[in-house]
């Protein structure tokens, strides 16, 4: 029986050891937690105004009362984010549980001043999973966005999170930036972070009430608009839609998108293509001691819509369509690079490419890469667009009719 005594005492020992691991002693019943889905940080004077969107679980249960909002917004002003979060317990009976944080919004003032202060907490806190997305509130307060009542999903945080994910997938000018990405970009040399912009359109006041979802056409709506360009952790400017699209192509973030161009040969109307896949290759080289970047983008897509009367079955026309769309994209990409150069911020990671290929040169350059990117870097962009399919019909039916 001695053996069993041994095993038994070993078991007891292990369990007693567990008692000392206070890290494991964080038992929380679900009814003592407020699940936070979204968090907003506004700069007010010298303090951060932190707003959290906490789920009201009773409104998610079966016998929910309809006149309660599905989420509650708490906000608190403190010089640090962590303090503000803890201070919220003075307003709520439950602890703010931030593991399921989906979404963080900074207002423009915070972003322009630098986001590393709030980011420090977000990385340090062990409860937070680094899989949330971030955005910068454009022309409105982060608190307004946090308190926004969304029309589709019951939970606004979920609504915005999903919208960002899907728009990045099928509409390239947004960029769903994961917190992990921004962290690695902040510490990496030769590449600067970006954050997507989030704006509220319409009646912002009404957008924060349940009136917003009582009508088929919402009184207010949120929109992902453009990409905010950061230098280190400070926002310095915005890219418009076309430039944002260029950014997505160059950084290989365009998974599926729609590109539009004027019909070739002076044809009337537009045509557009649905991007299926796109691959950008960045090839750095050094010519006459000046850095050169060649960006080769190979994209494939299908015709999505044609407004002009042309015979698409004609190989010549097909080639022209491809050329037109390639040129159009070339211009967009060029514009994007131009805008970045204007800001003097290498958001594309060209510097990183040099770092890899020419580590020796990079050591000289990295101190003044911002300047070099702005003035010396030559960027050569080549877009090759290949049109694969025409959809269910080949020619526009006006053309078919005339045949």
């Amino acid at each position: 029986m001695n053996k069993y005594c041994k095993i038994f005492s070993c078991g007891c020992l292990l369990i007693i050891t567990a008692l000392m691991l206070s890290g494991c002693w964080n038992r929380n019943e679900l009814i003592d937690l407020s699940i936070v889905l979204a968090l907003g940080v506004d700069k007010v004077g010298n303090e951060y105004e932190v707003s959290v969107q906490a789920i009201d679980p009773s409104s998610m249960s079966r016998n929910r009362s309809t006149n309660r909002a599905p989420t509650t917004v708490f906000s608190e002003r403190e010089p640090t984010v962590f303090e503000a979060l803890r201070k919220m317990t003075t307003k709520s009976p439950r602890r703010m549980y931030v593991s399921h944080l989906r979404f963080i919004v900074f207002d423009e003032a915070t972003a322009r001043e630098g986001i590393h202060n709030p980011l420090d907490f977000l990385f340090r806190e062990q409860e937070i999973r680094p899989d949330f997305n971030m955005a910068v509130a454009k022309d409105c307060k982060a608190k307004d966005i946090i308190g926004f009542v969304s029309p589709t999903e019951v939970l606004p945080g979920m609504d915005m999170y999903k919208s960002l994910k899907i728009s990045q997938r099928v509409w390239s000018p947004t960029s769903a930036v994961n917190v992990r990405e921004i962290m690695s970009k902040l510490v990496m040399e030769g590449v600067e972070p970006v954050l997507t912009g989030l704006a509220l359109h319409g009646d912002i006041k009404q957008g924060g009430t349940s009136e917003n979802v009582k009508k088929p056409v919402p009184l207010a709506n949120y929109v992902y608009e453009g990409i905010g360009v950061f230098k280190d952790d400070k926002l310095i400017g915005w890219m418009n839609e076309d430039e944002s699209r260029g950014y997505s192509y160059i950084t290989n973030n365009a998974k599926s998108s729609v590109a539009r161009a004027k019909c070739p040969d002076g044809g009337k109307g537009w045509f557009n293509v649905e991007l299926i896949r796109s691959k950008a290759k960045i090839e750095p080289s050094i010519k006459n001691d000046r850095p050169h970047i060649k960006v080769r983008v190979q994209s494939q897509g299908n015709i999505g819509e044609v407004q002009c009367a042309v015979d698409l079955m004609d190989p010549e026309m097909h080639r022209k369509f491809q050329e037109t769309i390639s040129n159009k994209l070339n211009v967009a990409l060029d514009g994007s690079v131009k805008r970045a150069k204007e800001y003097g911020v290498d958001v594309f990671g060209f510097g990183e490419a040099f770092h890899r290929k020419y580590p020796k040169h990079w050591r000289e350059w990295k101190g003044r890469w911002g300047e070099m990117f702005k003035n010396e870097l030559v960027v050569d962009i080549q877009v090759e667009f290949q049109i694969l399919l025409h959809g269910k019909i080949n020619n526009p039916f006006t053309v078919e009719q005339s045949k």
């Binding site: 095993i7 038992r27 679900l30 889905l37 009773s58 399921h100």
Partner: protein, 504 residues
């Protein structure tokens, strides 16, 4: 039989009295009347003792003694009484003569002693005493009412043999013998239990079985000194009492002849016990309890999938409530956001912590299950309706427990019935409560610790010298083919099928 514990002392005394009583009867007397009187005195003139005296010739008188209902009356009539009355020999009738020339039944023997003759009466023999002879004939025509061979209730199968054992040992051994027609099949019988004198039969294949285990079993069975052996569990407990302690079963019990036949072919020993339709198989390993006979009667692909499913349900049965508790009280970050919100919505307004909630539901279920088994079959329906309403609806509607918890308890309960061997489901159910406790106190860390300890314990066990977790740990490739999956028959031969023997 705990109720009889206080009387134990008295029982032992009376047992001694009885054996003294039998010892004191001494030798046969020559007067028939004396012998008959002694016997009926010893049996306390029981009302079922029948004494039939016959005059088979002018100067020969015999007496037949038996217990009513214990012998086959028709055989007694046709093959014993009839021939005795019709015999025409006039002189020098001896017991030997009757045994050899007159009595027509199969088993007739001469009693060695008076006490043996008396003892044989209670075993269901017909005793023949003769005037002037100091001896007795024991005519074995024991026969009593028995259940017919019916479908297996404990381990039913969709396809495959449907018959099952009965309470009669001979029927059971015959059912197996008829499946394995090999001369190497051995059957050893012995009687155990001072009062019950229960017949126990060991059946095994000579040459396939490990003789050491047979010897060991023989010895431990012989050394049993208990008053009563009424079921296999008595034997299991007594044999295992001086081995490693565990709540996990080390005897497989079955009422299916085909399972026993397969078992002895694999080198196991079957233990039949008179009076119970459940035979024991030893040695039995952990994987055996998760196999069912039907696995071999369905296509191997299907059976393999079903076996994997069984291991899966075993895990659910063991872990589902504890994982639920751990996730909802410690590791909320591991639950997908939508699910967490939904669970949080359900937990809203429930008064108890998750562990108490789980405990309430699990105990309620155990009560219902026990009630369902003990209850007369006709009321079973009512219990299940009440159970469904009480557990399923009212508790949730009243806001006492959350709906998610009901789902967890329900899936746990159903999973426990997927385990084919009932005696494995019992320890799993017990261990489940321990895991729930660990989960409440230490979260998944506690579950991991518990799981490691459980594995250590299981790997440490052996069943008659065979590692209990074999052929998985220690891993034996060929034998493992029939452990968790079922490989096609062509890829293995019968002998290697066993998890038990590995004697290379």
């Amino acid at each position: 039989m705990d109720r009889q514990q206080p009387q134990h002392h008295i029982q032992i005394q009376s047992e001694r009295e009885q054996s003294d009583q039998l010892k004191n009867v001494g030798e046969f007397r020559s007067a028939l009347k004396d012998n008959v009187n002694t016997i009926s005195k010893i049996l306390g003139s029981s009302s079922d003792l029948i004494v039939r005296e016959l005059s088979i010739s002018d100067h020969s008188k015999v007496a037949l003694l038996y217990l009513d209902g214990m012998i086959d009356l028709k055989t007694a009539q046709d093959s014993v009484i009839g021939p005795l009355l019709n015999q025409s020999q006039e002189e020098e009738i001896t017991l030997d003569y009757l045994a050899n020339r007159v009595i027509e039944t199969g088993e007739v023997s001469t009693a060695n002693s008076f006490s043996e003759a008396i003892e044989q009466i209670v075993f269901g023999s017909l005793i023949l005493l003769m005037e002037g002879e100091q001896g007795a004939l024991i005519i074995s025509i024991a026969e009593w009412e028995d259940r017919t061979v019916m479908e297996s209730k404990a381990q039913p199968a969709v396809r495959g043999p449907q018959n099952s054992f009965t309470e009669k040992l001979r029927t059971n051994t015959t059912l197996v013998r008829r499946k394995v027609k090999d001369t190497r099949v051995r059957l050893d019988s012995l009687f155990v239990g001072n009062f019950t004198k229960t017949e126990i039969a060991l059946m095994y294949m000579d040459g396939v079985v490990d003789n050491k285990i047979v010897k060991e079993l023989h010895q431990s069975l012989k050394s049993i000194n208990k008053d009563q052996i009424l079921e296999g569990e008595y034997i299991e407990e007594i044999i295992l009492s001086n081995k490693q302690f565990t709540i996990f079963p080390r005897f497989y019990n079955t009422d299916r002849p085909d399972t026993v036949a397969a078992g002895i072919l694999e080198g196991r020993i079957a233990i039949f016990i008179e009076g119970t339709p459940f035979a024991l198989l030893a040695p039995s390993l952990f994987v055996d309890f998760l196999q069912s006979a039907e696995d071999y009667y369905q296509s191997y692909l299907y059976s393999s999938l079903i076996r994997v499913l069984r291991y899966f349900s075993l895990c659910i049965c063991l872990f589902a409530p504890s994982i639920y508790i751990a996730l909802t009280t410690f590791h909320q970050d591991m639950i997908p956001t939508h699910l967490l919100i939904s669970i949080a919505g359900q937990r809203e307004g429930t008064p108890f912590p998750a562990f108490i909630e789980a405990l309430i539901m699990e105990v309620t279920f155990e009560i219902l299950r026990e009630a369902g088994i003990r209850m007369p079959r006709t009321i079973g329906q009512a219990v299940s309706i009440v159970g469904t309403i009480v557990i399923g609806q009212a508790a949730v509607e009243a806001g006492i427990v959350s709906a998610a918890m009901v789902i967890v308890v329900a899936i746990t309960a159903i999973s426990s019935f997927v385990i084919p061997a009932y005696n494995l489901a019992i320890p799993i159910r017990i261990v489940r409560f321990i895991f729930m406790l660990l989960a409440t106190t230490f979260g998944s860390y506690g579950i991991t610790i518990g799981w490691v300890l459980l594995l250590i314990h299981l790997c440490h066990l052996n069943s008659f010298g065979v590692p209990y977790m074999g052929p998985i740990a220690p891993y034996r490739k060929r034998a493992a083919r029939d452990a968790i999956l079922r490989f096609p028959f062509r890829s293995r031969d019968v002998k290697q099928m066993s998890g038990t023997e590995n004697q290379e």
